[in-house]
């Protein structure tokens, strides 16, 4: 493999990491409050509100059921508005974020729902406000599970980012298609696949480690 190819692999890896990390961070930023709202407005929860819960749930489900490739094309005008262009690594971050946000919202919702209702009740009995319950009980108590969920979302973003690459976004997926597939460079194809596998493994391992560190229910 030529030095040039190695350089291109490295650059593509950098682009993939950039897309995945930024969109994962943004999606978590947006998905977190959505997940919290979905949880606390649910039946019997601290801020039960049927209307908000139902409508937000519907929006989240609608976004989640749109395949990424369609979503990406459909929101090109929005992408242009935000980034100024619909092509390129930065432009890919917009659809990636939009597709990952509802996913993360649901993941956070299910993590928060795992918090023992008794603990929430104990906080209420001490006079905690809903905001204090969210910040001091729900989020810290479920952080280990949220981290695993975000890890899962990042891995799925690695997959989506390869697709985004195919539409001119750069990254490892783009490289694999342009060189590995269209120019029949089998070694490039193999190299990108290996890099992707290692990347996924790495993300999963780091996620597991952080989660285990945060999980205080299992320490002995």
């Amino acid at each position: 493999m030529s030095a040039n190819m190695v350089n291109m692999l490295l650059r593509s890896l950098g682009e993939t990491c950039y897309m995945v990390l930024v969109s994962a961070a943004l999606a978590t930023l947006f998905g977190m409050p959505l997940g919290v709202i979905l949880t606390v407005t649910g039946k019997g929860h601290i801020l039960e509100n049927k209307v908000i819960n139902r409508s937000l749930g519907a929006v989240v489900n609608a976004t989640r059921s749109t395949p990424f490739i369609i979503l990406m094309v459909a929101i090109i005008p929005l992408t242009r508005l935000i980034v100024g262009s619909s092509i390129g690594t930065t432009a890919a971050i917009v659809p990636l974020t939009i597709s990952a946000t509802p996913f993360i919202a649901r993941i956070i919702e299910s993590s928060l729902l795992e918090v023992d209702p008794g603990v929430i009740e104990a906080a209420e009995s001490m006079g905690a406000s809903p905001m204090q319950i969210i910040w001091k009980v729900l989020l810290p108590e479920s952080m280990h599970s949220i981290v695993l969920g975000v890890t899962l979302a990042m891995i799925s973003l690695i997959g989506s980012s390869a697709m985004a690459g195919a539409l001119g976004g750069g990254g490892l997926g783009d490289l694999a298609i342009r060189y590995g597939y269209q120019r029949f460079q089998a070694d490039t194809m193999v190299a990108t696949v290996i890099i992707l596998i290692v990347l996924v493994q790495l993300v999963q391992t780091v996620g597991n480690r952080i989660s285990a560190h945060l999980n205080k229910t299992k320490i002995k």
């Binding site: 023992d116 008794g118 603990v119 009740e121 104990a122 906080a123 209420e124 009995s125 001490m126 006079g127 905690a128 406000s129 204090q132 001091k136 009980v137 810290p140 108590e141 952080m143 945060l214 205080k216 229910t217 299992k218 320490i219 002995k220």
Partner: protein
């Protein structure tokens, strides 16, 4: 300190309405340890949760320290709840916080400064004897230790009232004993009013001054521990009291076919309750000497209720008809209580 007036609670659900509490009236004095005992599903948890409004009564008034809890805005209620500590059967500690962090939690909620929190938490750790477990997580503690953390946490905001919902039900007898001791100690030291919910009569007997028995959402009996224990009126109460007896009627006696009423020539099986000052009567000697009764002592027990001695004695009595009648009249004339369990021919 706590006044419950005409409390009703109805749960509405798809399967229909359920009247969990019916016209509950209770008055709990300052510094008292008040027991509420009942079988599973009687409405104990519902009742205690109505005191701090975790459950809103359908109707009725809840006064805590003179304030009507049912008429408060959410923020007033949060403030009022800081005066009412609560401990739970399953402890409900934050698993992501250490012992220290758990006890600090209510203080953080009140926006106390770091210094203040540290001072308070350290003194509470001392009070419950967990100073050496300060940095442990709940998963590293035994049930008894977790409940101690729960107690320290409930006391952090210097509440006037402590609500305990089955606080010892998940613990073994020895640990239960030590937790009850801690609660008694806290009650004495801080003059805090304690409401103990339980289905274990032993717990009530151990520490309560006053007891109310709840059945199917109604208070069926209420009084000082001494009254209720020595003279239970309701069948359910009698059963609870019987459940704590250590002089269980020996199996052998059970196998005899006991009957009532008395037929001439029968032997009698009688339980005598010696209360307070009657404990000094030489009853057995009088029965034997004066009434010519053969007395057979089957079992006996002396304990204290609220620091008053209380003894029970299970005896078999054998005498001819006239002497038996006279002896029974004599026993009934005394200030002790007698319970004729049955006769054997």
């Amino acid at each position: 300190m706590i006044e419950l007036q005409h409390i009703n609670k109805v749960y509405h659900s798809n399967t229909g309405d359920l009247q969990a509490l019916t016209d509950i009236n209770l008055s709990i004095g300052e510094g008292e340890i008040f027991g509420i005992i009942g079988l599973s599903g009687a409405g104990k948890s519902t009742l205690v949760r109505c005191i701090n409004m975790l459950e809103t009564p359908t109707s009725g008034t809840v006064l805590v320290d003179g304030q009507d809890m049912t008429k408060m805005s959410p923020s007033q209620l949060r403030k009022a709840r800081q005066n009412i500590g609560m401990i739970f059967q399953h402890f409900n500690l934050l698993s992501s916080r250490t012992v220290y962090g758990n006890i600090a939690f209510p203080l953080e909620i009140q926006g106390k400064s770091g210094d203040e929190i540290k001072k308070k938490v350290d003194s509470l750790l001392e009070l419950v004897g967990l100073t050496d477990r300060r940095d442990h997580y709940p998963s590293q503690l035994s049930g008894g230790q977790k409940q101690r953390v729960g107690i320290a946490r409930a006391l952090a905001s210097d509440p006037k009232v402590l609500l305990c919902d089955e606080a010892t039900s998940a613990l073994d007898p020895q640990t239960t004993e030590s937790i009850l001791e801690l609660l008694r100690d806290i009650n004495k030291r801080l003059n805090i009013t304690i409401v103990m919910i339980t289905h274990q009569m032993n717990v009530v007997k151990e520490i309560c001054d006053h007891v109310a028995v709840i059945e199917a959402g109604r208070i069926i009996e209420e009084g000082s521990l001494y009254e209720v224990f020595t003279n239970p009126k309701n069948p359910t109460t009698k059963e609870f009291v019987a459940s704590t007896r250590t002089d269980i009627v020996p199996d052998l006696v059970k196998q005899m076919s006991l009957h009532k009423p008395y037929k001439p020539g029968d032997k009698a099986l009688v339980r005598l309750h010696f209360l307070g000052d009657s404990a000094g009567e030489p009853v057995i000697a009088v029965l034997i000497k004066k009434y010519n009764v053969d007395v057979n002592i089957l079992s006996g027990n002396v304990e204290t209720l609220q620091n008053i001695p209380y003894g029970t004695l299970l005896i078999g009595m054998d005498a001819d008809e006239q002497h038996m009648k006279d002896a029974m009249d004599y026993l009934r004339s005394l200030s002790l209580q007698i319970e004729v369990i049955g006769y054997v021919s």
